[in-house]
Each structure stands twice: as C-alpha cells, then as structure tokens.
C-alpha cells in the first residue's frame, strides 16, 4: 500500500504543480499511515522531490516517451501504481494531466475525481472535495473502488515542504505506446503560460483594439505575469484563442488575476473564479466584475494601467 504521484516535468525540470502534487500526496499518505512514491518520466535530478515528502522515486527513462503521449504516459503511471500496490494515484490538472487521467483510471479500474481542492475528509470511505458547476459549487464525492485516482486542482493545496530522504531507483516497464504521433508543436517559449503563471493580466473589449495591447503586455512583463483575454477579444481575433480564459476557454487558478476593461460576464467569471485575489480596472462602476473582485479601481484603463505599471516598476526596484 502506498500513495503514488506522477511528478510532471518539462525539459528535465519539474513543474511547480509537480511539487504541489507531491505535497498533496504526502498529506494523504500521512492520513493513511503510508508513504509516497513518485514516478517521473525523463526527468533530470529527482532528489528535490524528497523536499515535498516523497520517500521513493521511480525514474523512467524512455526515448519513446520524449514527447508527451497520453496513452504511453498513462501506461507508465499505471505500471508504477501496480508495482507499488498504490491505493491512491495523484495526478495534476495540467493539460497533460487531464489528458492522461481517464486512461490511467480505466487501466487501473479506478474511480477518478478531478479538480480536487483539499485533502480527503476521510480515507475510509475515501471522500474528497472537488469543484463542480465550473467553480460555482463543490461536491463531496466518495470513491468506491479499491484504487482511487484524484486530479489535484492547481494552486488549491499549495506547495508544502516536508523533508524526507527520497531513494530513487530506475523503473523500466514495457510501455504500451499509443498511436497518436506529434507532428509539430507551436508554443511560445519566451512567455509565461496561463497554466504556469502566478499572476495573470487579462484584457477585454474596454481596450478598444489589438493595437492597445502594449498596455497589457507592459504590465504583465513588469509582474512576470501571463497575458490573457476575454472571449469577445478572442472572437474578434484581437488575440489568439490560446489566451481566451473563461468557461469555454482556459481556466485560470492564479494567485493574482488583474482584469482590465472586462465587464465580467458569468461565463468569464466561471473560468477565473478559482484565482485567489482578483483586481478589476474598469471605467464602468456598474460592471458586474466589481461584485466578484477583491480590489477595484473605477477609471480609464488608458490612464490607470500605465500609472500602475510605473508604480510597480518602482516598487520592484525598491524591493529587489
């Protein structure tokens, strides 16, 4: 018996969500009186996983898995789960995590609950809280199967240091690769992605046109933030679809979300509601977004945003 966690890496480096997932797995393991085994695929040095509570690391090095392949990755994780006799398997809510999770679940004949926000309220029966109705409610759900798969929501549990010495060993199961081949990848490597960002700066129709996006980009750059946009902005082609956040776009669960010139339609709010702190800048005091915000400035974005960028630059210089 153990808790298995898949620690996601990119180009040999663990993502922050991997640290968060290992921390969460450690929380469950403590409740169950067992230990955490992490499984990694083509990651570099795995010793850091011990800092978050992993006692054992199964390292898979496999050239056939050099680009993400949901079927192959899911098979690898399922092999590791069987190898460890894992009762709980922890995955993340990244695009890749959500892609492979249902395959892992069927492979292990395990019940699967995604978007989990807290430690289980009990482990027998195994009952977890997760967000449903696109962040408008939570469900407390019991998983009845012998093996359980949970997908941890981003930025919900947090990274918790828990120094454990992790023994690593190489693990080389025979992997059943899928028949889905990556032909090309189109990814901006110089920008913070919405998925990874701690801070997201988002612009709406109030910015009047794509030529004004320098305002958003300057502010984002000052904060080391990702840029995003509302649905009308992506529908009009001002910004690429990959920046659209909201119910039919990307979900955002950042620490800070700054919305500029976005009125706050219910579909938009649904997508960003799990962000911790929301700031709204809008010239319309009646904009519904103010009701969902923590802090707001009623004012013209073209005046307020450059001032905010300047102020933050000064603040960063002072606190550097």
């Amino acid at each position: 018996m153990s808790v298995l966690v898949y620690a996601e890496s990119e180009n040999g480096k663990f993502k922050k969500i991997a640290h968060e997932a290992v921390s969460y797995a450690k929380g469950i393991a403590d409740m169950m009186g067992t230990q955490v085994t992490a499984v990694t695929i083509n990651a570099g040095d795995t010793s850091e996983l011990g800092n978050y509570g992993a006692s054992k690391v199964l390292e898979i090095a496999n050239d056939g898995l050099s680009s993400f392949d949901a079927e192959g990755y899911a098979d690898a994780v399922a092999h590791a789960a069987k190898n460890e006799g894992a009762e709980v398997v922890v995955l993340t809510s990244s695009a890749d995590g959500k892609f492979m999770a249902p395959l892992v679940a069927v492979n292990l004949e395990a019940g699967y609950v995604p978007n989990v926000t807290e430690l289980p309220s009990s482990t027998a029966p195994f009952k977890v809280k997760h967000s449903v109705y696109t962040n408008k409610a939570f469900s407390h759900t019991e998983i009845n199967t012998a093996t359980k798969v949970v997908g941890l929501a981003k930025n919900a549990y947090g990274v918790k240091e828990n120094a454990t010495s992790a023994a690593s060993e190489s693990f080389a199961p025979s992997i059943n690769k899928g028949n889905v081949e990556v032909v090309s990848v189109d990814k901006a490597t110089d920008k913070v992605t919405i998925a990874d960002a701690e801070i997201v700066v988002s612009g709406g129709r109030g910015l009047k046109g794509p030529e004004n996006w320098g305002l958003i980009e300057d502010l984002a750059q000052t904060l080391g933030a990702a840029t995003a946009c509302s649905k009308p902005v992506s529908d009009m082609g001002w910004r690429p679809h990959s920046e659209h956040v909201g119910q039919t776009g990307k979900p955002v669960a950042s620490t800070l979300y700054i919305a500029i010139g976005i009125s706050g339609a219910i579909q938009h709010l649904a997508g960003i509601n799990s962000s911790k702190v929301k700031v709204v800048i809008n010239n319309d005091p009646e904009a519904p977004f103010f009701k969902a915000a923590d802090y707001g400035i009623v004012g013209d974005a073209f005046e307020v945003v450059p001032q905010l960028t300047e102020k933050l630059k000064a603040f960063k210089a002072q606190n550097a």
Binding site: A70, A95, Y112, T141, E181, V183, D186
Partner: protein
C-alpha cells in the same frame, strides 16, 4: 464515416446553482437545460463532416426521458439519429461504460465528446470511452481533419498547440476552436419539424455500477465586498501588505 457525438444535458451557463434534499441533489427548479457548450462545438464540426464528406452523424446521451429535448435539439441542428441510454447519469466512469457499449454496437469510426461538461467538469468520459473501446484519443481538440482512415488533430496545450497525426477509430474531447462561436447553428423551423420524425432510440443500460458517488454539495462561502481604491499607490500597497500577492 460513422460519427457519434456524445451530448451532455447540462444547466444553461447563466443558471443559478442551488441544491435540495439536504444539499444532495441539484435543484432543477426553473433551470433551463442545454447541449453542453463543448459538445455543441463538436456537433457543429460533425455537421461539417456530414456536409463535406458525407458522414452519417448520430448523437447519444445517458439520461432519463427529461433529457430528450436536448437530443431533439441536436437532431434539429442536423444529426441523423439519436440514442438515449435510459438510466440516470451518475458518475463519469459509468456513463463512459454505457457510451462505450453504444460505440461498440454502432461501429463508429469517430466519437466526438466535449473536453468537459460544464456541470460536473469531469473531463473523463471521452478518454474512458477511447480506452474502453481501444480507440485512439485526443483531448482538448481544437482542430480536426479526416482523410480516409487518417486523422490530423490539433490539441491545445499549456501555452500553445500541437498538431497530431493518428488513425481512426478515434475519440476526441473537443472544445471551442473545432469550429468558431460564429459557426454554431440555431435550429431553424425546418430543422425542428424534421427532428420530430427522426429516430430517437431508447436503449436499456448495461450493468455498470458507479465508481464514485456524490455524498453532498456545498456552495462557496459568499465573497466579501470589493474594496474600491482611488489610486494605484493604494492598490500596490494593498496587494503587497494586505493580500500579500506581490
């Protein structure tokens, strides 16, 4: 090409979310149900395959008789036949098992589901159908072309997109981008009239126990009022000292 589009019957986006029976059941009182938005993008893409490549398009869902208007709407948009698996949809895994059975019996080449439903946000049904039927699977699919038995799919990834090549049979978890919002169709009167006479098969469920079950629901704690500030100095101060996010 035989296409099955899986349709989830969900509360309209703007619905108020409330629960009854001691917070154990969703309160359907006054709620308008619609085709799940992610499924609607997929259905519209299926119409393109029907019109350009002569595909036949069936739609299916798992649910009681109350879900039939949603299936009729899909027929009015242009699907040829509908299948309703007559059981209450409880968890994603059992729904996937029911639909996998429909897929096996119908011999579909392409199964289109949505990235997630906007009610349970499970995001698991398409992937599970693929695994249960031995089909290839692409999630968060924002573009799809089929040429013979070869499919080219575009997948949204964190920070960009990737192009994938695979073979039929294929299952996708689709979303906006498969078609644009402006391509979505509102059923016209002719479509609605035709939909009345199109086949809607009611199929009895196979034995598939739920692997998970909802014990109770909870609504988020009400949010405190927004703090309005007059100037950026104060905002930066609050974000640093009070919210501690910068």
């Amino acid at each position: 090409m035989k296409i099955l589009v899986c349709i989830s019957h969900v509360p309209d986006t703007t619905s108020k979310i409330n629960f009854t029976d001691g917070d154990t059941k969703f309160d359907t009182n006054g709620v308008q149900f619609v085709i799940n938005p992610n499924d609607e993008f997929g259905l519209t893409r299926a119409m393109w395959f029907k019109e350009k490549q002569g595909a036949s398009v069936h739609v299916a869902n798992v649910g009681g008789p109350e879900t039939e208007p949603t299936l009729r709407k899909a027929l009015a948009i242009g699907a040829d036949e509908a299948i309703r698996v007559n059981t209450v949809a409880t968890d994603g895994y059992s729904v996937a098992k029911q639909l996998a059975n429909v897929v096996k019996e119908g011999g579909y080449d392409l199964v289109i589901g949505g990235r997630e439903s906007i009610d349970y946000n499970g995001g698991m049904v398409p992937g599970m159908i693929a695994k249960l039927t031995g089909a290839n699977f692409v999630n968060t699919c924002i573009g799809l072309e089929v040429d013979g038995s070869t499919a080219t799919a575009v997948r949204e990834i964190d920070g960009g997109k990737e192009t994938l090549k695979t073979e039929l049979p294929l299952v996708i978890g689709g979303q906006k981008g498969l078609v644009e919002e402006s391509d979505l169709r509102i059923p016209n009167m002719r479509g609605i009239m035709q939909a009345r006479s199109k086949p809607l098969h009611v199929k009895e469920p196979i034995d598939a126990a739920a692997e998970t079950q909802t014990a109770s629901f909870e609504k988020p704690a009400p949010k405190g009022a927004v703090k309005l500030v007059d100037n950026v100095d104060e905002l930066v101060n609050l974000l640093h000292n009070e919210a501690k996010v910068i």
